[in-house]
């Protein structure tokens, strides 16, 4: 059985809508900017990949606005775009044949911050009737399923930045178990003051102040990441069913997926990223030489960049494959990061072009990777490997390939 992607909806700091996102990704349009919305002067980090031109009222019915966090609004908007792109409405397939599997790492955090504030400053009777479901990690799956009448299997997975690829992997598993279509992907946002402060805990966020020299994955100047918001929603579908219903387009196949977890810190064993990549390749039935581009996790911290470079060299050999990190232009979108990279990978296959890695310029020779920097690289792309890591040790890998009628 083959699972294909037939629809993409992206909502990211550098582009709302799939083609806007892709154009921004290829032209190097930066979505990283000074965080607005509250006074950040007391914070050591003030740059974020922030969506600034989104007006919820133009995208969603007004009844959904009081009950949704901004992250859920992005998710609902991206899902509607993805389903429209796929030419799917609620009557396209029989009941129970369409499901929803998304990832979420932060929940409806800005919304819940408001409700915490109301509870503690005013009293419990001021807490919103929507708080019980606007906050939890399943909110996007639930709201997307309701809006589009998706009654098949549904789930919400959490694995920090790796979770978005896990959702797509589980969507494929769900298709293979018999559900014809699964809406998948992930979206996150937490740019309220409390959410922002919380993202800084652990010290991985850059304190840089120049948006063009802030998130520099694999650069010798790398000194942390920039948090982002948004993500992408994809429509995963059984290839035969997609053909049968006359899907307007097939972006590519989800050919392989794997996830691993790093050894407990201190054991000295090798991190799990290389194994995730190898297992995803094996799952796809491909050799490293078959891969035309790797969309890297691109942590933007020297230690983690080195670990990823080591894994890439181990799998592909020194400078063995073009590697790119367009997420440098959006910041790390947590559950949204992997699905947005999958969108880029599928569009690279469509257009035969590999986007560049933001503002990264100087990659240490010791990394031994062929990072696409500066300008996009034009070349045919038939297969791409997308990697994502989540804090604490999550590693996930997805292989997407050009769709061929078997």
């Amino acid at each position: 059985m083959t699972t294909v992607i037939t629809g993409i909806g992206a909502a990211t700091p550098n582009g709302l809508g799939t083609e806007a996102f892709w154009k921004a990704t290829l032209t190097g349009t930066n979505g990283v900017r000074e965080l607005t919305g509250f006074d950040t002067s007391a914070y050591p980090s003030r740059l974020a990949g922030q969506i600034v031109d989104y007006d919820a009222k133009t995208h969603l019915p007004s009844r959904l606005l009081p009950q949704t966090d901004v992250s859920t609004r992005y998710a609902l908007t991206a899902a509607a775009w993805a389903l429209a792109d796929a030419g799917v409405d609620e009557n396209t397939l029989p009941d129970y044949d369409m499901g929803t599997v998304t990832s979420n790492a932060l929940g409806g955090f800005a919304f819940t911050h408001q409700e915490f504030n109301k509870l503690w400053s005013k009293g419990s009777e001021f807490v919103s009737v929507y708080e019980s479901f606007a906050w939890f990690y399943a909110v996007n799956t639930g709201q997307i399923s309701i809006r589009h009448k998706l009654r098949g299997p549904s789930a919400a997975l959490v694995g920090e930045q790796a979770g978005g690829l896990d959702a797509v992997g589980h969507a494929r598993r769900t298709v293979e178990r018999g559900t014809k279509l699964v809406v998948s992907g992930g979206v996150d946002s937490a740019f309220d003051p409390w959410g922002w402060a919380s993202q800084l805990a652990g010290g991985r966020v850059t304190t840089a102040t120049d948006p063009e020299a802030a998130y520099l994955p694999f650069d010798e100047r790398a000194a942390g990441y920039v948090p982002g918001e948004g993500g992408a929603i994809l429509v995963a579908e059984d290839a035969a069913s997609a053909r049968e219903r006359g899907a307007p387009r097939i972006y590519g196949e989800i050919a392989g997926y794997a996830s691993t977890f790093d050894p407990k810190p201190g054991t000295g064993r090798e991190p799990g990223l290389r194994r995730a990549a190898e297992l995803a390749l094996a799952d796809a039935g491909l050799a490293p030489a078959d891969i035309d581009v790797v969309f890297a996790d691109a942590a933007g911290l020297p230690e983690l960049d080195r670990i990823e470079a080591d894994a890439l060299r181990a799998v592909f050999g020194p400078r063995g494959v073009p590697v790119t990190a367009p997420k440098a232009l959006t910041g790390r979108m947590y559950a949204g990061g992997g699905p947005a990279d999958l969108a880029s990978a599928l569009l690279s296959i469509r257009d035969g072009v590999i986007p560049a890695s933001g503002f990264t310029e100087r990659v240490p020779d010791a990394y031994g990777i062929d990072l696409v920097t500066g300008e996009p690289r034009t070349r045919p792309v038939s297969a791409a490997l997308v990697l994502a890591r989540g804090r604490w040790g999550f590693n996930s890998a997805v292989v997407v390939t050009r769709h061929t009628d078997h």
Partner: protein, 422 residues
């Protein structure tokens, strides 16, 4: 040849019952463990009852650093993991770590720690723009709960797939269902799976107050959780956790493991109807039951016991009663159905796993746990809900179901391995 999946180890932390034995003693005696909230001053709240767990982290073996680092729900998950692994007799250190996975369910994850940190950073809610000077180094762990399955993975040395399944109140069923799929497809051979939630904090109490989902029977906390009773008026919030060791059947048999049950079938459907509301006809839950039976290759009449979601809200009790009738026909009237939430309350994302534990112990002991506090049946709920007293009977096959915010409807078939072999 489809790989079969069995459960060989169980660990439970539940109100009134820490550890599998105490938990089963409570259930089989029909005792209740719901009480007035003691964790904080609940007097401003509409519902002031909860199923609290008497959990002593130091006595559980957690050191001071672990206690500070781990949210209470994470501590529950790790404590249950230790119990489940010991119970399984499996030497995890002798296995290939790459072939071990973790699947942990939770609905609200680190809610308790989030609220504690919020109070510090906002000066008890006085400041909207929190003070980053009071930021805890562990705050990211509470913001994004991937750390919960990570802690379990570190505990057992797992390096295969590790994930959190957060499907609201079906999380604890779906996390085990996810684990079953990982073993069946051959990705791993062993998964430590289960769920934990510790939501007894003001913000979560306020969430359910706001929608009047929880009971106001504040003057009678021990008898406040009344699923299927005509006098019920909402669920009782609780905390809890259960973790399991799941193994590929042939491997478990080969090592002579004690097998609680095989997970014969699992399915989930979504009602796509309302974030908190249920339709009366129970059709999506019925569909999940039908598909899980198909997967287990069992006829509905083989079900000896239904472990119900039975939350004690009117809409739930009627919804699932309809679902049982719709999926099982006449057998719905013949099979005993009970809700352990009557005794331990509703621990949100954890309860699905706590109810799997109860189902496994029902099979183990050939005893159906009762629905406590059921004195005046709701006339619209006309099945055999096993009121008040446990029932001794042969239990080979159990259906356990869950229903949750977001529209999730899940069903799982647990049975003795011989049932499938026969």
């Amino acid at each position: 040849m489809t790989r079969r999946v069995v459960i060989t180890g169980v660990g439970v932390r539940a109100p009134g019952g820490n550890g599998t034995k105490a938990f089963w003693d409570l259930l089989s005696a029909g005792r209740t463990a719901t009480r007035s909230i003691s964790f904080f001053d609940a007097s401003p709240f509409r519902s002031r009852i909860a199923g609290e767990v008497d959990f002593d982290a130091a006595a559980e073996g957690f050191g001071p650093r672990e206690i500070r680092r781990m949210d209470r729900a994470t501590q529950f998950a790790v404590a249950c993991t230790r119990e489940a692994v010991a119970d399984s007799g499996l030497d995890l250190s002798a296995l290939d770590p790459h072939r071990i996975g973790v699947s942990l369910g939770s609905a609200v994850a680190s809610a308790t720690s989030l609220e504690n940190e919020y109070l510090v950073m906002s000066d008890a809610g006085k400041q909207w723009e929190v003070d980053p000077g009071y930021l805890s180094p562990h705050m990211f762990d509470y913001l994004s709960p991937g750390v919960m399955p990570a802690e379990v993975a570190w505990e057992v040395g797992a390096e295969g797939p590790v994930t959190m399944v957060s499907d609201g109140c079906t999380s604890g069923l779906d996390s085990v269902g996810y684990a079953v799929q990982l073993i069946r497809e051959g990705t791993v051979d062993t998964v430590v799976a289960g769920a934990a939630d510790t939501p007894i904090s003001p913000i979560v109490v306020a969430c359910f107050d706001a929608i009047k989902a929880t009971t106001t029977r504040n003057d009678d906390p021990a008898h406040a959780s009344r699923p299927f009773d005509g006098t019920r008026n909402g669920f009782v919030l609780a905390e809890g956790a259960a973790m399991f060791v799941l193994e590929e059947y042939e491997a478990a048999k080969k090592r002579g493991a004690h097998i609680y049950a095989e997970v014969g079938g699992y399915a989930t459907r979504c009602n796509a109807h309302h974030m908190t509301g249920l339709r009366k006809d129970g059709r999506e839950m019925a569909e999940a039951i039908r598909v899980s039976l198909d997967e287990a290759r069992l006829d509905g009449t083989k079900i000896d016991y239904i472990n119900a979601h039975g939350s004690g809200t009117k809409q739930n009790d009627r919804h699932e009663t309809a679902a049982f009738k719709r999926s099982l026909g006449q057998h719905a009237y013949d099979v005993p159905v009970s809700s352990i939430k009557s005794m331990v309350g509703h621990s949100l994302g954890a309860i699905g796993s706590v109810e799997i534990a109860a189902s496994l112990l029902a099979i183990e002991h050939n005893v159906v746990p009762p629905t406590a506090n059921l004195h005046t049946p709701d006339p619209e709920c006309d099945l055999d809900y096993v009121p008040l007293t446990a029932r001794e009977q042969r239990v080979d096959t159990v259906l356990t179901v869950g229903s949750g915010f977001g529209g999730f409807q899940s069903a799982m078939i647990l049975h003795r391995p011989e049932v499938a072999a026969a």
